[in-house]
């Protein structure tokens, strides 16, 4: 998301990613709209509980209840994927900070983690709505929601930690370490809740068995969401850099 050649050039506002960002935003909006339409108009609906008989709808025999609520999935999964990719970038910038001790990378990492938090919140919102309708309760300790909750707590802890350390160098070092731990922890969280058979609490995995049309729709929306996330990252980065440069000027002028 930022140019890093062999020369010690730091990511800065106004470089080539900023020129790409508006185009990315438009591309993201177009892609997500296309995906939205695809989800509702093109992908065949997924069936839920069976009904008493079978009826001919369109040109297929349908013998299950058709689910509208499942359509939430086509935005829920892409948003989750985007949040994880944002976390990857956050960990990457944290690693670069630990290697070079340049405060700029700390800024990049912080913004990447903000984007992560935003998209995890989106995941939780869409997941909540889906769960609420499917199961009739506001929360169930099923693996997906629990994993995202834990991840959200780690990212929130990251920001609380940043708030409670005053010295900039230390703050940056500590948050970089926490970001890397969060990045390592996330896949383990995913695996643990899926691999351990829970016969007490039946696990319902809905993502299993995606048809190609579903996969294509998810991919389109995911690409769109990634573009949107990138545009948001660059916008935020520009704003934060502006504020930082203004602060630096202020200090130099001695106001």
């Amino acid at each position: 998301m930022a140019p890093e050649g062999k020369s010690p050039r730091l990511p800065e506002a106004g470089q080539w990613p900023d020129r790409v960002a508006p185009a990315a935003l438009v591309a993201g909006i177009v892609l997500t709209t296309v995906g939205f339409l695809m989800a509702f108009l093109w992908v065949p609906p997924v069936g839920g509980a069976s009904v008493g008989g079978a009826e001919l709808i369109g040109d297929a025999m349908v013998s299950q209840k058709l689910l509208l609520s499942q359509k939430i999935f086509y935005f829920h999964m892409p948003v989750a994927i985007t949040s994880f990719i944002a976390l990857v970038f956050g960990a990457w910038y944290s690693l670069r900070f630990l290697r070079t001790r340049e405060a700029r990378y700390d800024t990049c990492a912080r913004i990447a983690l903000e984007i992560t938090l935003l998209f995890i919140a989106l995941t939780m919102i869409t997941g909540e709505m889906w769960t609420r309708f499917e199961w009739g309760v506001w929360w169930s300790w099923e693996p997906r929601l629990t994993t995202y909750l834990v991840l959200m707590l780690v990212v929130i802890a990251y920001f609380v930690l940043r708030g409670s350390v005053d010295e900039p160098e230390r703050r940056a070092a500590f948050s970089a370490v926490v970001a890397i731990i969060a990045f390592i922890d996330a896949p383990i969280c995913f695996m643990v809740t899926r691999l351990i058979p829970s016969s007490i609490h039946p696990v319902v995995l809905r993502e299993g068995g995606m048809s190609p049309e579903m996969g294509l729709c998810v991919a389109v929306v995911a690409a769109g969401m990634l573009c949107v996330a990138f545009a948001l990252y660059r916008a935020r980065f520009r704003q934060v850099r502006l504020a930082q440069r203004v602060e630096a000027l202020k200090e130099e002028l001695g106001d």
Partner: protein, 256 residues
């Protein structure tokens, strides 16, 4: 290793008797580890302050659980929750222990002194983690039988119950490892204890999940045991390896 020590001793005797040259002779990593570990253990065993408070805290948590369960009917269902309750006990007690073990260092300025000496940071981490593990293990040896004593009236555990030692061990190793890293970070922040809990609980979640699963399987026995025990232990061990490695590597950045 003996060769190196001989050479170091020779260097030491040749050099002028100034404090500077004493510091320059670097003992091997194993010796550093041993010295640091002994220091921590000896300090604690002298006062026993932290162990006693952790033990009493564990007892208090058991009392709270007793009150919480006072209207639950005893029956075989209790075995399903018992594993989880035991781990809740371990997590709370270890949070207390991790906080206190670091408050010693920061209170007396030991940490700064430790960092001035040319020690390998990874060794400092391993020594601290081992001492934390030792204290946690001692408290668990007291707390787990205590837990059984207080709650054995609810349900009798299955024959595979003694196997809970394995998840307890694996979990304690993981908790000590990542807990040492996190408590080092939070020791110098504003909201020390709360900050540690905030970071610790989500990061340790996968380990907790796996260990609770394994413990419940061991306590309940039967079909649950066959299905979940081995997988959970494998995952807990995997977590331990990954997180210990990560903590060991990252400890340098946290302490400098």
């Amino acid at each position: 290793m003996a060769e190196r020590e001989k050479q170091e001793r020779a260097r030491r005797s040749d050099a002028p008797a100034s404090p500077r040259s004493e510091l320059c002779a670097r003992p091997s990593a194993l010796e550093q580890y041993r010295v640091l570990l002994m220091k921590d253990l000896r300090q604690e065993l002298r006062t026993k302050e932290m162990l006693v408070s952790m033990g009493i805290y564990a007892l208090l948590v058991i009392v709270v659980f007793g009150v919480a369960l006072s209207f639950a009917r005893p029956g075989a269902d209790f075995l399903e929750v018992s594993g989880g309750l035991l781990w809740a006990l371990v997590v709370f007690t270890s949070l207390l222990g991790l906080n206190r073990s670091f408050s010693h260092e920061t209170e007396n300025g030991c940490l700064e002194g430790l960092l001035l000496a040319p020690l390998d940071r990874g060794v400092v981490f391993l020594a601290k983690a081992t001492s934390n593990l030792a204290f946690l293990a001692i408290v668990e040896v007291i707390a787990v039988p205590l837990y059984w004593v207080f709650f054995s009236s609810f349900a009798a555990p299955a024959a595979s119950a003694p196997l809970i030692v394995v998840p307890l061990l694996l979990g304690s190793v993981g908790i000590a490892g990542i807990g040492t890293l996190l408590s080092t970070i939070t020791a110098s922040t504003r909201g020390k204890d709360v900050m540690l809990a905030l970071l610790f609980v989500p990061v340790v979640f996968p380990l907790l999940y796996a260990c609770v699963s394994a413990t419940t399987a061991a306590l309940a026995g039967g079909v649950l045991m066959e299905e979940a025990f081995a997988t959970s232990l494998a995952l807990a061990a995997g977590y331990d390896v990954v997180m210990l490695l990560a903590s060991w590597v990252l400890y340098d950045f946290v302490v400098s």
